[in-house]
């Protein structure tokens, strides 16, 4: 299938990946090769076949609605790029 630079830019935006012009060009060529490989699937007749999303037929377990975790906020925030007063800092989003 054909994939355009505009397609690549749109996917990069959805995936939140900054991409230069050169990278876009390389990505387009490589993705085209991969989508040619994937295209082999299209010839297969799968009418009436149920999708298989999981290796085992198991249902989600339920548990009692009780608190099982302890507070580890300080430990978890000690590895964050930027924190202040117990909050994760990011660029301002609301004026």
């Amino acid at each position: 299938m054909s994939i355009t630079d505009a397609d690549v830019r749109k996917i990069a935006l959805l995936a939140r990946l900054a991409m230069s012009e050169t990278e876009t060009e390389i990505a387009r060529a490589q993705l085209a090769g991969i989508f040619d490989l994937i295209a082999e699937m299209q010839a297969v007749d799968t009418q009436g076949i149920a999708p298989m999303s999981h290796a085992q037929d198991v249902s989600q377990r339920l548990r009692e609605d009780v608190i099982t975790e302890t507070d580890q906020r300080a430990l978890f925030q000690s590895i964050a790029p930027q924190v202040e007063a117990g909050l994760y800092l990011v660029p301002q989003v609301i004026e």
Partner: protein
């Protein structure tokens, strides 16, 4: 000591012929000497390892040792280990010190094993050659110009080069079996759900499964005895009775029916690999097995199906790396979106970005049915092929990889060629079946060849028996690379 089995090491430790401190130091010295060339480990921490060894020696002296107490084990750097830098082979996590233990790490700690260090791997386990690691490629100890396979290439190299007694790996599309084959060691990917994924950094959650890598099937059984078991913190962990995976090791193989999928011996298989695999099949016949030709007609579709499903799951799993709570954040950025985009663009390597892009695309509006849903339907056909095949045979055998180890850089520019090196392993993950690779000879370039053994669901003990009986009759598994 370096060539001893885990059973022998455990006996020596319990008989006080050697201490865990001495054994750990022996391996740490070897790592210091050989790792600069082989690059099997990303992180070692001698102080922590030695502290664990001292505790193990204390347990042994009190008579509280279990089979792995005091034994130094290398952990793939995909498992979070509290206080250990855990990178997953990525710049994104280059400075990430895990605040908790993965379930697997906790089990090894409880067993008294020593964490010898964190092994190198393809970035986020995405690769078949270990060349996508941010920390540089691992070298194959049999020929340092060649790749060790991937993504658990650091663990495979460490086991083969005697830089650890045993190691862990994870396998999403062949990442335990393929490097085991290329480095001449034994590796087992259990049935999906047997080993907890808690604290194992996620790649494709419906396929990821951890397993042991070691020098023999007997060692694998001891390791799996520690690793397997229900964990409520993994929603896909299976509730099953605890079993002893070593219980059937000594059973004879009389009457064993081996299925040989004709698709695994067709065009694309290296003639030297075919020769070694066929010789192994002949050995099995001598051991009392019979052979039946089977067909896995949809297995040829496993590569395209995998390269839709695994990237789709990865694109979702890796959305957590946003530069906010942990991991890499770009040094300069404008608004919030810019911070996300730059942190991810700089923190992820090329192969990871490629797979996130594929996954994002196949899940996007208008393509979901044609790609993602179609792939899931074919996944069922692939799994059904195995169900049908196991009506005719007890176990399936074939090559693990179409060729022996290729050279570093050889497939670097062409992702599709790299993806095809997993053609015999991927279908097993899609079906959720257990698979293993054991050494069965050498190819034309004197590099190891792996025999793949695929079992029915939960047949790990039988597969280990089948592998162990072969290893009693042959010595491929005890060969070691020269000059190390």
């Amino acid at each position: 000591m370096l060539n001893s089995s885990l059973q022998q090491l455990g006996s020596a430790l319990r008989a006080r012929k050697i201490s865990s401190v001495e054994l750990t130091q022996l391996f740490l010295d070897r790592i210091a000497a050989l790792n600069p060339a082989l690059n099997a480990y990303i992180t070692t921490n001698a102080e922590t390892s030695m502290a664990q060894a001292r505790i193990a020696d204390g347990r042994i002296s009190k008579g509280e040792a279990s089979p792995l107490t005091g034994i130094p084990v290398a952990q793939k750097d995909i498992f979070c280990a509290k206080g250990w830098r855990t990178t997953c082979g990525s710049k994104m996590l280059a400075n990430f010190v895990a605040p908790y233990d993965a379930h697997v790490i906790g089990l090894f700690n409880s067993a008294g094993a020593v964490n010898l260090g964190k092994t190198n791997m393809d970035e986020f386990a995405m690769g078949s050659s270990n060349e996508t690691s941010y920390f540089g490629a691992v070298k194959n100890p049999w020929n340092q110009k060649a790749v060790p396979g991937g993504s658990s290439g650091g663990s495979a190299c460490a086991v083969a080069a005697r830089l650890c007694a045993a190691a862990t790996g994870t396998d999403t599309g062949g990442s335990i079996r393929q490097p085991a084959a290329l480095c001449g060691i034994s590796g087992l990917k259990p049935t999906y759900g047997v080993v907890s994924r808690y604290g194992m950094i996620a790649f494709a959650s419906s396929l990821d499964q951890a397993g042991p890598m070691a020098r023999s099937a007997e060692d694998l059984a001891l390791l799996l005895n520690v690793m397997a078991g229900f964990d409520e913190r993994d929603s896909t962990s299976l509730q099953r009775d605890k079993e002893d995976y070593a219980r059937d090791l000594s059973k004879p193989l009389n009457g064993l029916r081996i299925g040989l999928p004709k698709e695994f011996f067709a065009e694309g298989l290296g003639s030297d690999v075919a020769l070694a695999v066929n010789a192994a099949i002949a050995e099995y016949k001598k051991l009392g097995a019979s052979v039946v030709e089977i067909s896995l007609p949809n297995s040829k579709l496993s590569v395209p199906v995998y390269y839709v499903l695994a990237p789709a799951e990865a694109s979702s799993n890796l959305s957590r790396f946003d530069g906010v709570r942990y991991g890499y954040r770009a040094p300069e950025y404008g608004d919030l979106a810019d911070m996300y985009e730059k942190s991810r663009a700089q923190g992820f390597g090329a192969e990871v970005k490629r797979r996130i892009m594929i996954g994002t695309y196949v899940l996007s509006h208008g393509y979901y049915d044609a790609y993602y849903l179609q792939a899931q339907k074919i996944r069922r056909l692939i799994a059904q092929d195995f169900t049908d095949a196991f009506k005719q045979c007890d176990v399936i055998m074939g090559p693990t990889s179409p060729s022996t180890a290729f050279n570093l850089g050889e497939k670097g520019d062409d992702p599709v060629q790299m993806y095809l090196s997993d053609i015999y392993t991927i279908a097993v993950n899609l079906a959720g079946l257990p698979g293993m690779s054991i050494p069965c000879g050498f190819g034309a370039n004197q590099m190891p060849v792996g025999l793949q053994i695929i079992g029915n669901y939960f047949d790990e003990a039988r597969m280990l028996n089948i592998a162990h009986q072969y290893q009693l009759a042959t010595d491929w598994h005890s060969r070691a690379p020269q000059g190390l």
